[in-house]
């Protein structure tokens, strides 16, 4: 509903953002694809010519590839599951009448504002360290053997750290959504004889559908590329090497740009699979 003049103005005004993002997407992507077909070792001879799909084959057959995909999906899936489940519970608790709701809300949100490098360092050293960490003290206090979290239970530890960072976000979105639920709907359901569990299942949960979608979408965007948490804690060892980290190692640590670029293309494909999948859901849910 608009005039030709406003439509052409709209196109013009959208242009800078679209052109910038298109450039940001296409230029490096083209270069990555270009490098992925080359043997390219910046510190050992530079450009050593075309190699066809060699890099792709090598990256795929490398023993680290599938474990890295697995680690990536485990971290993303684990964090999503934890934050959504606990987010819903916590949001429902925070929605109840209580004293000092505002302060509690701030306490719960706070972890989101801690930079990932800091949170990883603090968790790694001050909590998960097997000798001086707070958990170790706690375990010893109850007579248990302290756990070397980041070596023995590395993946769950990382999932826990990342979940701690993202739980506030999930909780807050879900809380906002719960607060927008018309209480008359719940009262009507109560009058209709629905017990609390049914009210949750038939009214609250469906109402939260859109909010959960948003949580999943935004968190996935950020979780697929988590880097600092792994860089700081395990440096990719003990089964925590995500695809992102594997490529990072190939490119920066082993300085094999061709191989890393092929990995980058794989990562882009993986991200796109997830993206298409998500966009389908979100596209549907965003209209509602």
């Amino acid at each position: 509903m608009a005039t030709k003049a406003s439509r052409s103005a709209a196109r013009l005004m959208m242009a800078p953002a679209v052109v910038l993002l298109l450039g940001w997407m296409l230029v490096p992507l083209t270069m990555t694809i270009y490098f992925s077909f080359k043997k390219y070792l910046p510190l050992r001879g530079g450009d050593l010519g075309w190699v066809g799909f060699d890099n792709y084959a090598r990256f795929l057959s490398s023993s680290s590839f599938w474990p890295s995909v697995q680690a990536t999906l485990l971290i993303v899936g684990g964090v999503l599951a934890i934050t959504v489940v606990f987010g819903v519970l916590l949001a429902m608790l925070l929605d109840q009448p209580m004293w000092g709701q505002g302060v509690v809300r701030i306490l719960v949100i706070a972890p989101f504002f801690v930079m990932p490098t800091v949170s990883a360092l603090v968790w790694k050293n001050m909590f998960m360290d097997p000798v001086n960490g707070l958990f170790a003290h706690l375990w010893k206090a109850v007579g248990a053997e302290p756990i070397a979290w980041l070596t023995e239970a590395s993946l769950p530890s990382i999932i826990m750290i990342v979940s701690w960072q993202w739980l506030p976000f999930a909780t807050l979105i879900l809380l906002t959504a719960i607060q927008s639920l018309d209480s008359e709907q719940l009262e009507a359901a109560e009058m209709d004889g629905a017990p609390p569990l049914k009210r949750f299942g038939y009214i609250i949960l469906p109402h939260l559908g859109r909010a959960i979608t948003v949580v999943v979408l935004i968190q996935t965007i950020f979780l697929l590329s988590i880097f600092a948490e792994i860089f700081v804690t395990t440096q990719g060892s003990f089964g925590t090497k995500t695809l992102t980290y594997l490529i990072f190692q190939r490119v920066l640590e082993s300085q094999n740009v061709g191989l890393g670029s092929a990995g980058g293309v794989y990562a882009i494909i993986l991200a796109n699979i997830v993206a298409i999948f998500l966009m389908r859901i979100v596209g549907k849910n965003l209209d509602a």
Binding site: M1, A2, T3, K4, A5
Partner: protein
């Protein structure tokens, strides 16, 4: 000056033609009301005149100047929106001054005009409030104030009273009519309420599905509706339509008779029926008569003192001199 001419104007949204070719002239100083059921294209037509939508073809002329391609800001028209569309972050004073500020008018002149408009509209005490602090009627006045300060060629009103409660609506209706008398500027007013159309208009434009069904003064439309649609739309309660043998007696496919043109009697009359619901308005009573064998219900308007009970059988006499006859296409037969 504000003579607005629409010349073969059409509007399509994609493949859907909402306004087929349409010609219309609104004379300078006229109060024209576009009326029709919702979705009839009356608001679209207003937005085309305003320039908020492009015409798909045809020409819009304002004072014989082709305005078809002129952006809304340059057409010299002012518009009052259904939601009033006041700027919530500006005081009443700034709201009213906004169009003048956009026209880069001298600040002293702006102040003078805003204060003049405010005193006309009884807003002087509210000039420093925000729209959020005003009642519905006051907001409506601010919206009007914002449109009058520019001294536009014509005012466009898009269902301006639909958000007000019934009592306020009557009051604002009078105020807008008075404003029109005083300013003598062209006004185009869109509404779905035929009472507003009848009470305010110099010229009513009845629209259905983007097509003009009839143009005329309120009384012309009341007395000589061009077709069944207009006949049914104008007048309250709506006209009774009778088909079949009874209509054939009058050499028509359908005859229409307004509720106020039927006399009631306990004893005699050509038609008879059973009283259903009676609506007592005090001054008048509306009877809904069933089992007449003519139509499902015949509505009759009688004096406020007339009293029949539910279930009474009564007799009706239509005044044949004000009966309307329509052919099979629904067009008026003279």
């Amino acid at each position: 000056m504000g003579r607005i001419t629409l010349d073969k104007v059409t509007k399509s949204f994609g493949a859907v033609e909402v306004i087929p070719p349409l010609d219309l002239t609104i004379e300078d100083g006229e109060f024209a009301v576009f009326v029709g059921p919702s979705g009839c294209g009356k608001s679209t037509l207003l937005r085309l005149i305003a320039g908020l939508e492009d015409v798909s073809s045809g020409q819009i002329r304002i004072d014989s100047q082709d305005a078809t391609a002129v952006p809304p800001a340059k057409r010299g028209l002012a518009m009052v929106f259904q939601s009033y569309a006041l700027y919530p972050h500006m005081s009443v004073r700034k709201n009213i001054a906004f169009p003048l500020k956009m026209a880069k008018m001298d600040p002293a002149e702006i102040t003078r005009r805003v204060e003049a408009a405010a005193s006309v509209l009884n807003l002087t005490d509210y000039l420093d409030r925000r729209p959020g602090q005003l009642s519905g009627g006051q907001r409506q006045r601010v919206a009007i104030g914002r449109s009058i300060v520019r001294e536009p060629a014509a005012f466009l009103f898009d269902e301006p009273l639909s958000n007000l409660d019934a009592a306020l609506r009557v009051g604002m209706r009078l105020e807008i009519s008075e404003l029109h008398k005083r300013l003598a500027t062209t006004m185009i007013y869109v509404t779905h309420d035929q009472v507003e159309a009848m009470t305010m208009a110099d010229k009513i434009v009845v629209l259905q599905a983007g097509v003009i069904e009839q143009v005329g003064s309120p009384l012309e439309l009341y007395r000589t509706p061009r077709n069944k649609f207009v006949a049914g739309f104008i007048g309250s309660p709506t006209m009774n339509f009778i088909e079949g043998p009874e209509a054939a007696k009058y050499n028509a496919h359908t005859v229409g008779i307004r509720p106020e043109h039927i006399d009631v009697s306990e004893t005699e009359g050509p038609w008879s029926g059973v009283v259903g619901v009676s609506e007592h308005l005090g001054s008048d009573t509306f009877f809904h008569i069933h089992e007449t064998g003519l139509a499902e219900t015949i509505t009759v308007r009688a004096g406020g003192e007339v009293g029949f009970n539910h279930g009474d059988r009564i007799h009706l006499t239509p005044r044949e001199d004000v009966m309307h006859r329509f052919d099979a296409e629904g067009l008026r037969i003279e």
